[in-house]
């Protein structure tokens, strides 16, 4: 979420809240709300500052008088890792079942589209949607869940920023070029078409007439969208996949709301992130070394104490918001930026690019060398667009490739 969005979202009044909540003890609730709204740990560059999981406490009391709340979990264009990450909550998953009915979760339960359509508008309390909007079916389901739910959470990097699916926006020809490549150009498809459909390549159609009626498939979009470019989103949880801590904070907010009437976090809040960038949580020590050559972690013996940037490994930590407890950098892998930018930055890639370009040292002949020489130096960064925008292309300023006309 960018700097300007932050102010926009604040202005919008939160229109609707679930009605099933028994409100009691307002002053206490307000105090709790403050605690819930600011779960971030005390800041300070004292080495490693972990972002703790929210404590859900002992077993919950029986479901509230209004009955269990309803949760829907849906995947659009994602890998399924986000769905699995919900199971990272371990025994907390039982807590979910205690206070909520899961009405839809394609990987785990049996709810179907028609079941959701049969519900009243606003019958689902929380919908967790993970994945980007890649085709018409994704958009249809996102809109359907938005209609039927009070709260919609963009869960995971693909829903929030486009993630890896949004990198397909870099194909100039869009959907037709992608489909053509996949079904006729890749070695396995080419061999298949050559062997069985030599005269005319057979590619899937979106509509086909058969004796029993008309069959349709979803239409693939030219441009992958993030969830909030298609529907209104209440909360965001970044991560590829989101960490257990983020999920527990979301669950705590919902449980507190249902049982104690504690106000929910403000609309548009990012759950499970800190205010500062990843470097604040990273336990490595920085010496502000300059680099001239870039390495992948497998090419060098990664020093377990020193900053990865000092060792010539490109790390997106300086541009990426904290909250993941530096899981990757702790084990010697650079940050790839799945948590997205900090709150006041819109363009994650540009932010990372700025930090990394400054790492290259000023040369002795810098006052006399020309721009082409500098470009040669910067070409050490291979595929800058793919590297800096690996997760956030869908939310970037220029969302897809453009084609110069002449």
């Amino acid at each position: 979420m960018g700097f300007f969005d932050f102010f926009k979202k604040k202005k919008k009044a939160k229109a609707d809240e679930p009605k099933a909540a028994p409100a009691k003890e307002q002053p206490k609730a307000a105090a709790k709300a403050e605690a819930a709204a600011a779960p971030a740990p005390a800041a300070g560059k004292t080495g490693f500052t972990p972002y703790p999981a929210a404590d859900l406490g002992e077993l919950l009391p029986p479901a509230p008088a209004g009955g269990k709340i309803k949760i829907a979990i849906y995947w659009t264009a994602g890998c399924g890792g986000c769905d699995v990450s919900i199971l990272d909550t371990n025994e907390r998953v039982l807590t979910i079942a205690q206070f909520a009915d899961i009405v839809m979760w394609p990987v785990a339960t049996d709810g179907k589209e028609k079941d959701i359509e049969a519900l009243d508008d606003g019958a689902i309390t929380v919908s967790l949607i993970n994945g980007a909007i890649r085709n018409s079916e994704n958009e249809h389901m996102a809109k359907l869940l938005r209609k039927k739910s009070v709260l919609v959470v963009a869960y995971g990097t693909c829903a929030m920023f486009g993630g890896s699916p949004a990198l397909a926006n870099l194909v100039p020809g869009g959907a037709s070029e992608i489909l053509d490549y996949v079904y006729t150009k890749t070695p396995s498809s080419a061999a298949f078409q050559e062997r069985y459909h030599k005269d005319a390549a057979v590619v899937p159609k979106t509509v086909i007439e058969v004796p029993e009626g008309t069959l349709t498939l979803p239409v693939v979009y030219d441009t992958v969208k993030t969830l909030d470019q298609v529907i209104d989103v209440d909360y965001y949880i970044p991560g590829c996949p989101p960490q257990q801590e983020s999920i527990s904070h979301l669950l705590k907010a919902v449980v507190d709301f249902v049982y104690n009437g504690v106000a929910l976090p403000p609309k548009g809040a990012e759950i499970g992130v800190t205010e500062k960038c990843l470097c604040d949580e990273c336990p490595r020590t920085k010496e502000y070394a300059r680099i001239t050559k870039i390495y992948e972690p497998y090419q060098v013996n990664v020093d377990p104490e020193k900053c990865l940037m000092d060792q010539g490994i490109l790390c997106l930590g300086p541009a990426t918001v904290g909250g993941c407890n530096a899981k990757c950098t702790k084990v010697g892998q650079p940050c790839r930026g799945c948590y997205g930018p900090t709150r006041l930055v819109q363009e994650h890639g540009a932010s990372a690019l700025t930090a990394i370009a400054s790492l290259f040292p000023v040369l002795d002949d810098d006052p006399t060398c020309d721009e082409d020489q500098i470009i040669e130096i910067m070409k050490t960064v291979k595929d800058p667009l793919g590297y800096f925008y690996a997760y956030t292309l869908g939310k970037s300023l220029i969302k897809r490739t453009v084609v110069e006309e002449n």
Binding site: L353, A357, I374, V381, F388, K399, E404
Partner: protein, 156 residues
């Protein structure tokens, strides 16, 4: 290309050299095409690549970044940082499909009103030859709104 195409150019000038250079060009009554808008920054290193991308995303046909000559920066090393960022953002713009000539980096000192004039004149010529920004083309709009593919759904 339409003959009446007037490019829209965003120019970032550093406070200490190029902005004064632009002023010098004005005081010297040098003739320049009126296609550029100047944004003053304290240093060329203040120009976040995000500014450049935002200008292109909003439909600028070209972006110029002007700073102090190397070894002449008011903040000693700001322009060395800037030129590395601009080089890298140029590679990114190329990957996006822009012609890299749409982004120009030039060094203009406070006394170089004439250089400011020639830089602007040449850059406007280059952009006029390149044509309007591809961001605003109908094809780009159809692609980003998925208009074509959505039309296929409605035909069913």
């Amino acid at each position: 290309m339409a003959d009446n195409f007037e490019p829209l150019i965003v120019t970032f000038c550093c406070n200490w050299c190029s902005y004064a250079g632009a002023d010098n060009a004005g005081v010297g009554r040098r003739q320049m095409p009126p296609n550029f808008r100047i944004i003053r920054t304290m240093c060329s290193a203040r120009i976040d690549p995000e500014f450049i991308l935002r200008a292109f995303a909003k439909g600028a046909d070209g972006v110029m970044v002007l700073g102090c000559h190397p070894a002449d920066c008011h903040y000693i090393g700001g322009n060395y940082r800037a030129r590395r960022r601009i080089a890298l953002i140029r590679l990114v713009l190329e990957q996006y499909g822009f012609d890299p000539r749409r982004l120009k980096l030039e060094w203009v000192s406070a006394s170089e009103g004439e250089k400011f004039q020639t830089t602007v004149v040449n850059f406007v010529d280059v952009i006029k030859a390149l044509g309007p920004t591809p961001v605003k083309s109908k094809k780009a709009k159809d692609m980003s709104d998925n208009t074509t593919v959505k039309a296929a759904i409605k035909e069913e």
